[in-house]
């Protein structure tokens, strides 16, 4: 089986400081990969390099495109990369305000990606927007409200609907549950797990919350100071941590 995404020796430096280096892994279709680590460990840098928001200083990011098979997204032309960004890729920001257009209605937010790939029939766009709002548990009568009239959890769910409407194959998530209270987090995780399984999505989830990866991720990568220190199946890494840092991370989780 060919991987959907193949990352080879990716590195990013901020001057003399290391953002991340020597990161390699393969992600297969339908697989969810978690990246955990403390603040400043290079998780977000890595994610931004993979999603094309940052240009890595070294390495390859190969993506299995629909048209041409494996392509290096670092060296491909900008229009192609941006096209991927609004069709096969989705990016869920930690802060919903970064991923939404706050002055555009919920329906417009969901419809934007459809219109960006050429949908020109208002009725169809609206129908799909209603369908997707339903899937993320937002009432259909809120379709013409602005995101700023939504609660934090609803904004995050709207952001997810907006990203998934074009049926992407790979979703990048940067702390999708950050800043939400635990009951809202639980609902969001439930929703995400359902969508990922139902649509057969591949996903890369960056988080510092071990509970999130325990619930969502098949595989886990632990990062520290820009390096990958441990990888493996999620349960294996969390239940039997080998590296000293992973042991520290797992033992740091507060028990209620």
């Amino acid at each position: 089986m060919t991987p959907l995404l193949s990352v080879q020796n990716v590195a990013k430096y901020y001057g003399s400081r290391v953002g991340c280096e020597e990161v390699s892994f393969d992600l297969y279709p339908g697989e969810v990969m978690g990246i955990v680590g403390e603040s400043g460990s290079g998780k977000s840098t890595l994610l931004n390099c993979l999603a094309g928001h940052l240009a890595p200083d070294a390495g390859k990011v190969l993506f299995d495109t629909r048209a041409n098979g494996m392509q290096d997204t670092v060296t491909m032309s900008e229009p192609e990369r941006r096209m991927l960004g609004r069709t096969d890729w989705a990016f869920v920001h930690q802060n919903a305000r970064d991923g939404l257009r706050m002055s555009v209605s919920a329906g417009g937010n969901v419809g934007e990606r459809l219109m960006a790939v050429g949908a020109r029939h208002y009725g169809d766009i609206r129908e799909q927007a209603v369908d997707w709002l339903g899937r993320v548990e937002i009432a259909a009568d809120r379709i013409d409200d602005r995101p700023r009239q939504f609660s934090g959890g609803m904004q995050q769910r709207l952001q997810i609907a907006r990203n998934l409407v074009t049926g992407p194959r790979l979703v990048f998530m940067d702390e999708p549950t950050g800043g939400l209270d635990v009951s809202v987090q639980a609902r969001l995780l439930d929703l995400l797990r359902g969508l990922v399984r139902e649509m057969g999505l591949s996903a890369i989830i960056v988080t510092h919350d071990l509970a999130v990866v325990r619930l969502l991720a098949d595989r886990l990568m632990v990062m520290k100071s820009g390096q990958v220190v441990e990888t493996g199946l999620t349960d294996q890494v969390l239940d039997d941590p080998q590296h000293a840092y992973t042991q520290l991370l797992v033992s740091s989780v507060l028990q209620v």
Binding site: E78, P79, R82, R86, R101, S103, V104, S105, G107, G108, G111, E112, R113, M115, A116, V117, G118, R120, H121, Y122, G123, I125, R126, I143, D144
Partner: protein
Amino acid sequence: MSDQAYNFAYLDEQTKRMIRRAILKGIAIPGYQVPFASREMPMPYGWGTGGVQVSAACLVPEDTMKVIDQGADDTTNAVSIRKFFENTAGVATTEKTREATVIQTRHRIPEEALTEDQILVYQVPIPEPLRFLEPRETETRKMHALEEYGLMHVKLYEDIAQHGNIATAYAYPVRVEGRYVMDPSPIPKFDNPKLEMAAIQLFGAGREQRIYAIPPYSKVVSLDFEDYPFEASKANHPCDLCGAEHTYLDEVIIDDEGGRMFVCSDTDYCGERQANGHRGRLSPEMEAAQ
């Protein structure tokens, strides 16, 4: 003031060359916004500094100039710009659309079809059609470069979601020659179909320092949805002075009891129709007869 106080048409020759280069580039790439080094003009931004600079760069001493503001020849903006060129360029001026070779306009296209011998210069306040949805200039330029125009339809979507139809009535976005999406300046959407014309159309935005153009006979398509097609709308009324039913109308409040009249916004066109004997509901002759 002595006759030597100004170079012909106010701007110095180097500046005019710079502006002409921008105009040529604009014509070569229809709808593309060409940056240019806009000069301070002796009038405030928003009064047509961009249009004035483009007109100045186009004028030759043999030209006849017409200036219109909202279709009228006799409003402040039109009168002051016409006077400006009378003083600084000494060109002949006219109010007749047919006799003019250069027409500077704000917010209207003349009703009478223009010819290949004419240049129509628009004053543009905000040249970037994507601006209100995407405030970053770096991003909008990239979107133009990569033809990513989905966002323009988001604006139209919002219109329909809020108002039940495309409520944008002026500055209605168009696509030129199947490539660049362009703001046609705040002309009513009634005028959009006229953008496909025989005359050269130049757009100047002084404060924003952009020039763009539509060459003669270019294909100009107003953006819309398949199920909400573009409609060139106007007030459903004939002109009260000349009786025309096919022109764009201004609504004028005439008393404090709800009385109103609709008149052609193109004063020259309306005047000519009246001279030819056309009469509307409130024209002086009709009132006298009653």
